[in-house]
């Protein structure tokens, strides 16, 4: 990250905490660095390197004791506690400085062990504290700059150590380290008070029992713990290999200066790694990839040791360790913990740090003792190779559970759909009980569900005596469709019902369930209601009692001059009878201007299968009161209706409203054919609203058919295209706004509207992009991911971004994250990569480009703005748009005319 980038990467509200963290890490690591130089010089000058494993073991034991004691007091984090630990470190280090000569060998061991456990005491406290301050997204930006503080501290510490080592014996360096801790102890109070995290209290022995259980229960936690253990064992073996080689090759008198020089060099290379490598790798690659870099290098160093043992090979191993351990490795290790929910992170981190690091150290020490004892010359390099390989395998296996953990946290932010439950005995009981309800809607719903589930035979015939007409009508319709001849006797008692609607419905039902037409003829002779007479007419025609021209004449008369009620009754009669031969009548009724007639015709069409209905049904889709029934009916035609629907969708001459509705119903059809039509149109469609509906329809199609696989090629093309579009809008907007800053005369109403249009268009492209990404990656919920990214919750946004970062690959990954990341436009546009396009430098050139935009809103507002500014140089271009815009009717044609008029007026004023 460039220095400019670094400045932008830290938001104003993060600056105080980030600055405090950098100084804190600088102080702590610098002090530890001085102490470690003193430690190694003292140890290697007075004791053989073969004693080192004992110090590793002792360090592990002491660390465990300390951490267990910490857990007894509660796993707490906070500014105050951080200061207490740092000042305590200063006091103990100072005491050791006083006592080291007096204690002799014991003092050297004490310094060694103390310098090693300091990391557990202070650094773990600091990183735990930081993990409560920042989300995973912030961590990815900020841990790099913060880690720089540590590396700079190490450089400063080793430089101080080198300077002092030339003048004083190593014992005196211990006092310098204590002074460093003392000064650092004041820094925690520079963290913002408002960011003080809640402390988490633990019961006694919580660390040893509850935390072990927690780690054992979570597969990801187990893997992280094991990875940390192997990683620590690996670097411990590497450290031993290096120090053995140093003890064997460097004279004791030069050890202090030599080690300080090497450590200084390593720390400088670590700084370079931190500034250049760490940020780049963590942003470009997954966390687990970043975690794999050090073992790859150690593996190479181990192989070097096997084939060419000696100080050079040992320096290569130490070089990799020293360069990356506190930069890339530390950063990526800390990020692995961010996958845990906040509630569990502190506990797990404390436990894994101790078990992983100290356990790894202990195991490595025991193994080193064994190998050294066995006398195998190449035993340790081989052990290093095996451990580095195991580390790599574990890092690779972390990827899936890491992502799964984020996915599960993402899922917890939204509601999931269930599968429709099957009707079982308990449900049936509920439904039958509902038929007795005094609430009519409940009875109607129960009737519908029973029919839908194929249980119409269970509906009692006596429901026809229900006081509500709606219930009786619904029951009659269901009995007719189910051919329930057992209810005919009940129907005969209802034939004189006072309601004409019920009488008509009873006649219709009876004529279907009993073929005898005599009762109908008899009824026709005295029935007065035109609605009932229309019903009888239909049924007499259907049964063949009225036929030929007589039948046609009667029907034409009803269609032409019947009242709304009569025509509704005619349609309902045809529907109830379910007779064929009335298709033309229904198509004619479907074109009526009265909604009630159209609706009745649509409902009647449901009872007869005739593909001639399809165009009429499609025409009903845009109208609210017939939409639901038309849609349901079209679905029953399946593949027979699909060609007509697709032709309507693809016909740009048809009304936009109709095409939009057609796109909406396509997911209800054959998924292969529907998806092919939708995908094919997705790129070509000029109308943005229809294009967006196509994307939503494809989403609906995948919800209905979760196993269906969409053709990835058009999706990839659309992703590519949408990313370009989003960045194009953003870059043009940035240039436009700068143009108005340079010349305030440009800052007009049209300019403001154009800037808003470009920004909104960019946001719309983002929304569409995430939806198409969801189509391309159906296992991920990209719609929810986008909601979380643009929503107000910091943690949800961080989780969503982490999933995006792990699911997508570059260059799409960087471009997508750059698009939604909370960064200034300068940095955002840098993230575009191959999706960025050059922007015209000149304001007028930019407007000329926008005049040619495919987006009508952008074009229209650009035309308006050019006219407003009176830019006569662009008159020709606007004139050229005249024919195109006028052809769009209500589109921007009028804006072209108005802009030309304004330009002419401006030119006239000049002359």
């Amino acid at each position: 990250m460039s220095l400019v980038g670094l400045r932008f990467a830290i938001r104003p509200d993060e600056r105080r905490d980030t600055r405090a963290a950098v100084f804190m890490l600088f102080g702590v690591v610098g002090s530890i660095s001085i102490l470690e130089t003193a430690r190694d010089a003292l140890f290697l000058a007075h004791l053989p390197a073969t004693r080192l494993p004992f110090t590793y073991l002792a360090t592990a034991v002491v660390s465990l004791i300390i951490v267990n004691a910490q857990s007894r007091w509660g796993v707490r984090t906070g500014r105050f506690l951080l200061a207490v630990w740092t000042l305590a470190a200063a006091a103990i280090t100072f005491a050791l400085g006083l006592l080291v000569d007096w204690l002799g060998t014991v003092g050297i061991y004490a310094v060694y062990i103390w310098s090693s456990v300091l990391g557990t005491l202070v650094l773990v406290q600091l990183w735990t504290f930081l993990s409560t301050l920042f989300t995973v997204t912030q961590a990815k930006r900020l841990y790099g700059p913060i880690g720089t503080g540590g590396v700079l501290g190490a450089i400063a510490g080793s430089a101080v150590a080198r300077g002092l080592a030339n003048v004083y014996p190593p014992q005196r360096l211990v006092f310098a380290s204590a002074l460093g801790f003392l000064i650092t102890g004041a820094i925690p109070f520079f963290f913002a008070r408002g960011t003080e995290p809640d402390v988490e209290e633990h019961g006694k022995n919580a660390m040893s029992i509850a935390d072990t259980r927690l780690v054992a229960r979570l597969p990801y936690a187990r893997l992280v713990a094991l990875s940390m253990l192997v990683a620590t064992a690996c670097v411990t073996v590497g450290d031993y290999v290096f120090k053995s080689a140093v003890a064997a090759s460097i004279p004791k008198a030069q050890l202090g200066t030599w080690l300080a020089t090497v450590y200084l060099a390593l720390n400088i290379s670590s700084l370079i790694a931190q500034l250049i490598v760490t940020g780049w790798i963590t942003r470009r690659f997954t966390v687990t990839t970043a975690f794999s870099v050090l073992p790859v290098l150690l593996l190479g160093g181990g192989l070097g040791m096997v084939f060419a043992s000696g100080l050079i090979a040992a320096l290569v191993i130490k070089g990799a360790d020293g360069t990356l351990r506190y930069s890339l490795h530390k950063t990526s290790s800390e990020m692995l913990f961010l996958a845990f929910p906040d509630s569990a992170r502190q506990r797990l981190k404390g436990f894994i740090d101790v078990v992983g690091q100290r356990g790894g150290q202990a195991i490595a020490s025991a193994a080193i003792l064994l190998v050294v004892g066995s006398g195998h010359k190449r035993g340790l390099p081989v052990m290093l190779i095996v451990l580095a390989a195991a580390w790599l395998v574990l890092a690779k296996s972390l990827q899936r559970p890491y992502l799964d953990l984020f996915r599960s946290r993402l899922r917890s932010n939204h509601l999931e759909h269930l599968a429709f439950p099957k009707l079982d005995l308990a449900s049936l009981e509920t439904l039958i009980r509902a038929l007795d309800s005094h609430a009519d809607p409940e009875v109607l719903a129960a009737l519908d569900v029973l029919e839908r589930e194929g249980k119409a035979r269970l509906i009692p015939g006596l429901i026809l005596y229900h006081p509500a007409e709606a219930v009786v009508e619904r029951a009659l319709a269901i009995f007719t469709r189910a051919h329930r001849a057992d209810v005919v006797q009940v129907l005969d008692r209802l034939i004189d019902h006072p309601s004409a609607r019920i009488r008509a419905a009873v006649i219709a039902a009876r004529s279907v369930l009993d073929p005898n037409a005599q009762p109908l003829l008899l009824r026709m002779s005295f029935e007065e209601s035109p609605e009932v007479r229309a019903t009888i007419t239909v049924n007499l025609i259907a049964s063949g009692e009225i036929y030929g021209e007589d039948a046609q004449g009667r029907l034409d008369g009803l269609i032409r001059s019947g009242s709304v009620q009569t025509r509704v009754a005619l349609a309902e009669a045809i529907g109830r009878r379910g007779a064929s031969g009335f298709s033309d009548v229904l198509v004619a009724l479907a074109a009526a201007k009265e909604g009630a007639v159209r609706r009745a015709a649509a409902e009647a069409m449901a009872t007869v299968h005739d593909t001639r209905f399809v165009p009429a049904l499609i025409a009903m889709l845009p109208v609210e009161d017939t939409r639901a029934v038309a849609r349901a009916l079209l679905v029953t035609y399946g593949d027979e209706a699909l060609p007509e629907l697709i032709a309507t969708l693809e016909d740009p001459e048809r009304k936009s409203r109709l095409r939009w509705r057609v796109a909406q119903v396509l997911p209800l059809f054959n998924p292969t054919r529907a998806a092919a039509a939708l995908l094919s149109l997705m790129r070509r469609e000029q109308d943005g609203a229809i294009r967006f509906q196509i994307v939503r329809s494809l989403e609906a199609l995948l919800r209905r058919h979760p196993d269906f696989e969409l053709d990835p090629k058009p999706l990839a093309e659309t992703i590519d295209h949408t990313l370009r579009r989003a960045y194009r809008y953003l870059s043009r907007r940035q240039k436009l706004v700068h143009g108005a800053h340079r010349d305030p005369r440009r800052n007009t109403l049209g300019h403001t509207l154009l800037a808003k249009t470009l920004l909104d268009k960019a946001h719309n492209a983002e929304d569409r992009l995430f939806r198409v990404l969801g189509l391309a990656h159906p296992l991920e919920d990209f719609v929810q991911i986008y909601r979380d990214i643009v929503g107000g919750r910091r943690d949800a946004r961080a989780i969503a971004l982490e999933v995006v970062g792990n699911v997508l690959v570059d260059p799409i990954r960087t471009a997508v994250i750059g698009l939604v990341d909370d960064i200034p436009d300068e940095l955002r546009l840098e993230a575009a990569g191959p999706y960025g396009e050059p922007v015209p430098d000149d304001y007028e050139e930019l407007l000329a480009e926008l005049l040619a935009s495919k987006s009508e809103p952008v074009r229209a507002v650009a035309i308006y703005h050019v006219g407003e500014l009176g830019i006569s140089e662009l008159r020709g271009r606007i004139d050229g748009l005249s024919a195109l815009e006028s052809a769009r009717g209500l589109g921007a044609g009028s804006d072209v005319e108005r802009a030309l008029q304004r330009l002419d007026d401006a030119a006239q004023a000049v002359t």
């Binding site: 939204h414 509601l415 759909h417 269930l418 429709f420 439950p421 009707l423 308990a426 449900s427 509920t430 439904l431 509902a434 005094h438 609430a439 809607p441 409940e442 109607l444 719903a445 129960a446 519908d448 569900v449 909604g595 845009p622 109208v623 609210e624 009161d625 639901a628 409203r657 939009w660 509705r661 943005g688 609203a689 967006f692 509906q693 919800r703 109403l749 049209g750 509207l753 808003k756 249009t757 909104d760 268009k761 946001h763 719309n764 009508e856 809103p857 229209a860 507002v861 035309i863 308006y864 209500l890 589109g891 921007a892 009028s894 804006d895 005319e897 108005r898």
Partner: protein, 304 residues
């Protein structure tokens, strides 16, 4: 069987019972299977004894209660009460208005409700336009019932009455600028603003032109730009309105017939929007329907 005996607390009610309950509710009519299941899963059947508080005035509305059986009473500040019975809900307005205030409601008799959490209700509204449309219908209908069908309570003619000199219609961008300063379109994304501006037709009608009659089905929404329109009910009540007023919008949203006749008393310039086109814009932009629901909910909370 009396009402009291019919009601049994449904402690062990499963998702199927709730699904059936969802299917019975007019407020959710037309809901597809996915939407119904979503609500059924994230709702519960609740039972309240007489005089038991269902929702509290002290807490923000966190759920919606739809009465399945029984009756709720919502006390009003003036001492009167609103009765909420079968198929109607409490909390819908509170959840949508999101004012941070709650409403007290009390069971009058043993009452069974379908309690839908705020999150599930808002998700369902966002995912299913059929629910949003139903709630819009109910809100608009309630407003018409509460405030009467006339567009305003008293004459609202700016003085002097404005009629533009310009004869040519406004351009697309000029319409966009106007729309972006109006009601729910303020701060809206540019796409729905353009979508609405595209379907707005500017008309100029002579004096005594009748836009619609009482009892007509609303097919278009009229937004008056200049001139005056007299709105007259069958009972003789009348008001005059002018620029900025919307005519027929609430009736169209409520899917009711026009409750008054609208007749131009001067030459009038207006925008005409086909209601079906307006619905497509709402459905294509769920954030806009949510904003409209929120606006209507807040209007319902205002004193009449």
């Amino acid at each position: 069987m009396s009402d009291d005996l019919r009601i049994v607390p449904s402690v062990a009610s499963g998702v199927r019972d709730r699904l059936l309950a969802v299917r019975t509710l007019g407020i959710l009519h037309g809901l597809d299977d996915d939407g119904a299941l979503l609500l059924a899963e994230y709702s519960k059947l609740s039972f309240f004894e007489p005089e038991q508080e269902v929702t509290s005035a002290d807490a923000d509305a966190e759920s919606v209660h739809v009465v399945l059986e029984g009756r709720l009473r919502v006390p009003r500040p003036d001492g009167s009460s609103i009765i909420i019975d079968n198929g109607r809900g409490v909390g819908v307005i509170g959840v949508l208005a999101n004012t941070g205030k709650g409403f007290q409601s009390i069971a009058e008799v043993p009452t069974r409700t379908l309690e839908i959490s705020k999150e599930a209700f808002l998700t369902a509204l966002d995912e299913s336009f059929s629910i949003a449309r139903n709630v819009l219908k109910i809100f608009a209908g309630t407003l018409l019932d509460d405030r009467g069908t006339l567009p305003t309570l008293q004459d609202a003619i700016p003085s002097p009455s404005i009629i533009e000199d310009r004869t040519e219609p406004r351009t697309l961008v000029e319409r966009v600028i106007e729309v972006s300063r109006t009601g729910i379109f303020t701060d809206a994304n540019i796409d729905p603003i353009f979508d609405i501006a595209r379907v707005m037709r500017q008309i100029r009608v002579p004096v005594w032109h009748v836009f619609f009659k009482e009892g007509d089905l609303p097919r278009v929404i009229i937004r008056v730009l200049g001139g005056t329109v007299r709105c007259t009910k069958a009972d003789g009540a009348a008001v005059e309105v002018s620029s900025g007023h919307m005519l027929g919008g609430l009736a169209a949203l409520a899917a009711r017939k026009h409750g008054f006749e609208a007749k131009a008393t001067t030459e009038v310039v207006a925008y005409e929007i086909n209601f079906e086109d307006f619905l497509v814009v709402l459905e294509a932009h769920p954030e806009l329907s949510m904003k409209m629901l929120q606006t209507l909910a807040r209007t319902l909370l205002e004193p009449a």
